[in-house]
């Protein structure tokens, strides 16, 4: 259908006869060009810089694996990687659970459902820096609305950003409201499940809890896997803005995540070689985590079997 339309379009308007595959390549060109310039070349440059001593001023000099050896020996690097992993373990499951719960609650048409769906999505489109500053205010231990509310309820008001544990938690909490994309993907996934499955399950006497476990979850699992991998990668990067703008890595390195340390190495200490090496190390670690998950649970191909 699309193919026909494209062919017709190109013959009529451009009066150039182009095979379909050539058309595809032609239309992909701008995107590929962008990817080359913005992703591939910088990635290669980073990989090369990682093996050099490069201090922004002057030229890089090749130093072999010295950067990686130095990083391995640094307690701060280990701490930042540990902070990042702790964050991923907390944030990714909670974000998925949040997106799934909201998608289940808002999958059917009812009063104001458009409004609710928009409300779930809106925090995701707030620019990162503004979002971080907003939470800086929300977490203000004395004047912030969160602690005023907790105090009004008679609950203890934590010091949030000044205590290591609550500061880490705060960065997780603020990430839990930017789940709009996962929410939309899961909504689409839910629409994809034929109603007849639920109806026949009902005939067989299944309650809604059983339907969820036996039908919804298995059929959603490919979507959930996709979101898990996507969220792992995204969450790892997304700690940068809040840790840079809200806590600047503190209190006492509690929120010094790998991306922030990379930034500090590069732009505070001008150790661009070290920063590039840590970037690569972080990605290798992330790759290992993703591979580990694939090994344990597989790629979740149950959609085809159904």
């Amino acid at each position: 259908m699309l193919k026909e339309q494209l062919t017709r379009f190109s013959t009529r308007k451009l009066s150039v006869r182009m095979p379909y595959s050539a058309q595809i390549r032609f239309f992909l060109l701008p995107y590929l060009f962008g990817t080359l310039i913005l992703v591939i070349i910088p990635a290669v440059a980073t990989a090369l810089i990682a093996f050099t001593d490069y201090k922004a001023v002057g030229l890089p000099t090749f130093v072999g694996l010295a950067n990686f050896r130095q990083l391995m020996g640094s307690a701060l690097v280990r701490l930042s990687l540990r902070n990042s992993v702790i964050y991923l373990l907390l944030a990714v499951p909670l974000r998925l659970l949040g997106a799934l719960t909201l998608a289940l609650l808002l999958q059917h048409r009812r009063r104001f459902f458009g409004l609710y769906r928009a409300a779930v999505y809106i925090p995701t489109v707030i620019p990162e820096a503004a979002y971080a500053l907003l939470w800086l205010w929300i977490f203000n231990p004395v004047y912030g609305p969160l602690n005023l509310f907790l105090g009004w309820l008679g609950l203890p008001a934590p010091a949030w950003l000044t205590e290591p544990t609550t500061a880490r938690l705060a960065i997780v909490i603020l990430s839990l409201f930017q789940i709009g994309e996962g929410f939309v993907v899961l909504l689409a996934g839910l629409q994809n499940i034929p109603r007849s499955f639920y109806e026949s399950a009902k005939v067989d006497g299944a309650n809604s809890w059983q339907s969820f476990w036996q039908i919804t979850l298995p059929l959603l699992s490919p979507w959930l896997m996709l979101l898990t991998f996507r969220d792992l990668i995204m969450s790892l990067q997304n700690t940068f803005t809040p840790s840079f703008m809200i806590t600047y890595g503190g209190p006492y390195y509690a929120t010094t995540f790998a991306p922030l340390l990379i930034y500090e190495l590069a732009f505070d200490y001008f150790e661009l070689g070290l920063a590039a090496a840590l970037l690569i190390l972080t990605y290798v670690l992330l790759g290992l985590i993703v591979m580990g998950i694939i090994n344990i649970v597989g790629l979740g191909g149950s959609a085809d079997e159904a």
Partner: protein, 428 residues
């Protein structure tokens, strides 16, 4: 954000290529890069305007980046692209990174050949702070020291005598105690006596006041000297202001509202800062304020704050760049910037002129910036100093807010800063 970082790297490489291909225009335009708030920018705009009048043949393009850390980031990108600004305003704690890598032009011979200014016109300590490896790298514009800004109305209301020019640690503490109050009786302190950043740059003068040292050798530093009895006692006194005396905001109060904001809002009596805050403090209308020197311990001491005009090594038009630096640091140039309140002029003649000492504009006690010059110490000049300050600062902050003992903080500050000193010493 990662993408942005990668994009940044790429941008750098593209700029490098462009820079390599482009043959530079041989005209008389120089770029001049500064950091600072809007009040400071206005001062430099006046300076550039006056320069254009005196030297119409040279055009100066002013580049302004408000934040200090953004400024450094921008300069890092500019330098790696091979296109740094021709003239750069840099703090003496930060120029070494650029000089070390061959990014800056040494200015000693330019100054020696100048008809307009010479080294002896400047306060010695300011000039010294821009020497490294035997060369003078930048021309200092100012010699601001750390002082105490105090709210006179709060002192009056609490019947506390104003600080004198030779007040002591005991006087300071007595005043701070009297001025720290829970006004509405809700169990939370509303007005604090003092605020001082928990950083090595604020702690250093107190160490000197106790007779200690910051580093073992100012010219060839190999370690911090926080573990001497004097420095430990100073550190303990500093930390006790918070953990024992509670006269400065604790971690929660500081996180709720920063000390400087409390001072500006009239709810903090004494704020430790350099001359830098003056253009902003001059906008205060709801109370009177003045400055006092740091309270003395066993001896009086304060710490140098100084920014210098530096020239990029790669600049095509060194003569024009020097003409501008020379003008900015002549009596005419320094007078313009001093009038904004931003600087304590590094030229001895301008520092004693009405441009700086203007009695009609606060602070009335400006003379103390000059009087304390003989007691000024400074931090060593080394390219890894930024890392030392940040790392030791984290330890000082931890102790200051009661999350570690002074002993623990000293031990880990010494261990964690070792590598920064080693980097400098293995190179030499």
């Amino acid at each position: 954000m990662f993408h942005r970082f990668i994009q940044g790297l790429f941008l750098i490489s593209v700029l490098m290529i462009i820079a390599a291909c482009q043959s530079k225009q041989e005209d008389n335009t120089i770029s001049f890069s500064i950091f600072g708030d809007p009040a400071e920018l206005a001062a430099y705009e006046d300076l550039v305007a006056a320069f254009s009048e005196a030297h119409p043949e040279i055009t100066v393009q002013l580049q302004h980046i408000p934040g200090q850390s953004d400024y450094r980031q921008r300069l890092a990108a500019d330098f790696s692209s091979g296109e740094p600004p021709d003239v750069i305003l840099l703090n003496y704690r930060r120029f070494a990174t650029f000089a070390e890598q061959g990014g800056l032009e040494p200015l000693g011979s330019y100054l020696a050949n100048s008809d307009l200014i010479q080294e002896s016109d400047f306060f010695q300590v300011a000039i010294d702070s821009f020497y490294m490896d035997g060369s003078l790298w930048c021309i200092p514009q100012n010699i601001s020291s750390l002082v105490v800004y105090y709210n006179k109305d709060m002192f009056d209301a609490a019947n506390v005598p104003y600080p004198t020019n030779d007040w002591t640690h005991e006087d300071f503490l007595a005043a701070a105690r009297a001025l720290t109050r829970d006004v509405d009786g809700d169990g939370r302190i509303d007005e604090y006596g003092a605020s001082i950043d928990p950083s090595i740059f604020r702690l250093a003068p107190i160490i000197w006041q106790f007779g200690g040292q910051l580093v073992d050798d100012l010219d060839h530093p190999t370690r911090l000297m926080l573990d001497t009895p004097q420095a430990t006692a100073a550190f303990q006194w500093f930390v006790d202001l918070q953990v024992k005396e509670h006269v400065v905001p604790d971690a929660v109060a500081e996180s709720a509202e920063e000390g400087e904001s409390r001072f500006l809002n009239g709810r903090l009596a004494m704020y430790f800062n350099s001359r830098r805050g003056v253009p902003t403090y001059r906008t205060i209308t709801n109370f009177d304020w003045d400055v006092a020197p740091l309270p003395r311990g066993q001896q009086a001491a304060s710490i140098l704050h100084s920014d210098g005009y530096c020239m990029a090594q790669s600049t095509q038009n060194k003569e024009a760049a020097w003409t501008f630096i020379e003008f900015a640091n002549s009596t005419a140039g320094q007078t313009i910037v001093a009038q904004s309140g931003r600087t304590v002029p590094s030229l001895i003649a301008v520092a004693s002129s009405p441009a700086f000492l203007n009695p009609d504009l606060p602070p009335a006690n400006s003379q103390i910036y000059i009087d304390t010059v003989p007691t000024l110490g400074r931090v060593p000049t080394m390219h890894t100093w930024v890392g030392i300050e940040e790392t030791a600062g984290n330890e000082i902050e931890r102790a200051f807010y009661g999350q570690a003992t002074v002993q623990e903080a000293i031990e880990s500050a010494l261990t964690l800063t070792e590598s920064f000193f080693d980097q400098v010493n293995t190179q030499n």
